[in-house]
């Protein structure tokens, strides 16, 4: 069953068409990889899904609901969570406070509840705290709860972002280059983490340049080049696709 579907999505910036008529779908429970050379439009697709950008044409549906035009926080409450390519943590806040951001929308209390410390508010705070700590344990940052986020090692910052996203209890998690800047050992751990996320029943859509990770973690790949989709299918099949090989070889020439 499709959880997320993109229909003929197009996005332009001035004269540049960053995403051109892209369609694909993500099955419930799957791990899908979105790959392609630098500047292919992958991140733009993510930003369209989570409503940071508005598409010029096309439609996005998630679990039967149309996402076009919804504000980002609304899309998150529908069950999509994300991480960012350039890590976006709340740098000056603690690790725990960062994860509590993910718990935010499931909580209710406001100004009065906080000022009067109403019982419902207290209970809610306790529950959120527990959930946040659980997520930290899950990604392996349980010991660092009171560290200030900016003092974390780079790989840990990436995992913290995942914990914050998981705290929203999403149905679909989208990860933008989760292994970016990680060493081999950390990447190995990340593959394990992605597996455990999938085991929780969370669908994963990820962008990644690290081909070993993509080949091992994903069941399906979607390949973009110059904003357009050039291939889609299981990793083994995509790997042999001549257009994909050409796209990557062409990209290799430049780098």
């Amino acid at each position: 069953m499709d959880l997320l579907t993109l229909h003929h999505l197009t996005k332009t910036f001035g004269g540049l068409t960053a995403v051109k008529d892209v369609s694909f779908s993500v099955d419930q429970g799957a791990v899908v990889g979105l790959i392609g050379p630098n500047g292919a439009g992958k991140t733009t697709v993510f930003n369209l899904i989570t409503g940071q950008y508005r598409s010029d044409q096309g439609e996005i549906t998630f679990a039967g609901a149309r996402l076009n035009g919804l504000r980002t926080h609304r899309i998150i409450t529908l069950g999509i969570a994300r991480t960012f390519q350039n890590i976006r943590l709340f740098q000056q806040l603690t690790v725990l406070e960062n994860v509590l951001a993910g718990c935010h929308y499931r909580m209710r209390s406001g100004i009065l509840g906080a000022m009067l410390r109403l019982p419902a508010q207290q209970r809610e705070e306790r529950e959120a705290m527990e959930r946040a700590l659980q997520e930290l344990e899950f990604v392996g940052l349980g010991q660092q709860a009171s560290t200030v986020a900016k003092n974390l090692a780079y790989g840990d910052q990436r995992r913290l972002e995942i914990a914050r996203a998981l705290a929203t209890q999403p149905r679909l998690l989208i990860l933008d280059e989760p292994a970016g800047g990680m060493n081999e050992q950390e990447t190995g751990a990340l593959i394990g983490l992605i597996g455990r996320i999938q085991a929780r029943g969370v669908t994963v859509l990820l962008i990644e340049h690290d081909m070993r990770l993509v080949m091992r973690a994903c069941e399906k790949l979607v390949v973009l080049e110059y904003g357009g989709k050039i291939a889609e299918g299981p990793p083994d099949q995509v790997r042999c696709d001549p257009r994909v090989i050409e796209a990557y070889l062409g990209a290799d020439d430049e780098t």
Binding site: F13, Q52, Y53
Partner: protein, 319 residues
């Protein structure tokens, strides 16, 4: 802003009726707008390169007015060189001195704060502004200072039957000349290109071999020079100056810079002129009592429609 007009009263009964009054207001608005634009350029250039609101810029403008007064009376330039040459030399001296002040300000108040939280620099700027104002007050006293009125011509220029005060014409001309010169300098010269590059991306500019520190220094020389000239113009135009006037003019000019799209040099020019004209018209035809609120009302309305100002680029934040 001083309510008294010395050489050319505001509320004459114009014999020519509506059209003439309208044209008088329009030219007056252009003169004031030119002054706003010159000050706004200083805000916008500094902002472009440093992303800093130089709150002390309005006070540099005031220094221009006071230095102009002191030099005018003490050196008797207009007696020796005649009116035009005298004022020209005076303007150059004022611009040079205020430019030096600007460079000192950058050294003392802003350079140590580069890389600090942005608001710290804002507070430092406010501190500098208070310091500069009160220094003037200690030297000159708190009262209005008056430009000597025997030095300046009270003549009017006859433009197609319209009597326009000479000083107003001069101010419009001088501000346009300075703006055009700055525009050409920024667009056509290598140094101008360096300023533009540093405004777009400091890091990249540095990699290209541009000495960003020198660009910043240059911007802190150019902006205050124009601001100082504007101060002198206000002194010559209205005849009265006060040590606190930098805040009102500074706020209006900053409004103009935002209106045009902060960081955008033609934007500051357009914003300044527009603001001057709208304000003059509003004061004349709507209400003089609300004059100082008009600029802000225009600003808010325009920002609601165009959140990045008139000429500011609309960019989607990269995520």
């Amino acid at each position: 802003m001083p309510a008294t007009w010395r050489s050319f009263p505001f509320n004459l009964n114009y014999p020519g009726g509506f059209v003439e009054e309208f044209l008088q207001q329009l030219t007056n608005g252009l003169a004031v707008g030119g002054i706003y634009a010159l000050i706004a350029l200083g805000y916008t250039m500094v902002y472009g390169v440093l992303k800093l609101i130089n709150f002390a810029h309005g006070d540099l403008f005031t220094y221009g007015a006071y230095l102009g007064l002191t030099l005018l009376t003490s050196l008797a330039l207009t007696d020796r060189l005649g009116f035009f040459m005298g004022v020209l030399v005076l303007a150059l001296m004022v611009m040079g001195l205020v430019a030096v002040l600007g460079a000192i300000l950058e050294r003392a108040a802003y350079r140590p704060l580069r890389g600090s939280p942005r608001l710290s620099a804002v507070v430092s700027a406010l501190g500098a502004s208070i310091f500069l104002q009160n220094t003037l007050m200690l030297i000159y006293g708190a009262r209005f200072q008056v430009y000597p009125d025997n030095i300046l011509p009270v003549a009017s220029l006859d433009l197609f039957g319209l009597q326009i005060p000479l000083m107003r014409v001069l101010i419009v001309l001088a501000s346009v000349v300075m703006m055009v010169a700055l525009y050409l300098f920024i667009q056509k010269t290598k140094i101008g290109a360096a300023i533009r590059a540093a405004a777009i991306d400091q890091g990249a500019a540095r990699l290209m071999g541009i000495d960003v520190n020198r660009v910043i220094l240059l911007v802190f020389l150019l902006g205050p020079a124009l601001g100082g000239a504007a101060g002198l113009m206000v002194g010559l135009y209205y005849g009265q100056i006060n040590f606190t006037m930098g805040w009102v003019y500074g706020m209006k000019a900053f409004t103009a810079a935002i209106l045009g799209g902060i960081g955008n040099i033609p934007g500051a020019m357009v914003g300044g002129l527009l603001l001057g004209v709208v304000e003059a018209m509003g004061a004349a035809y709507l209400s003089i009592a609300w004059k100082d609120a008009i600029a802000f009302c225009v600003l808010i309305l325009i920002l609601i429609v165009r959140p990045t100002g008139l000429l500011g680029e609309r960019v989607a934040d990269k995520v």
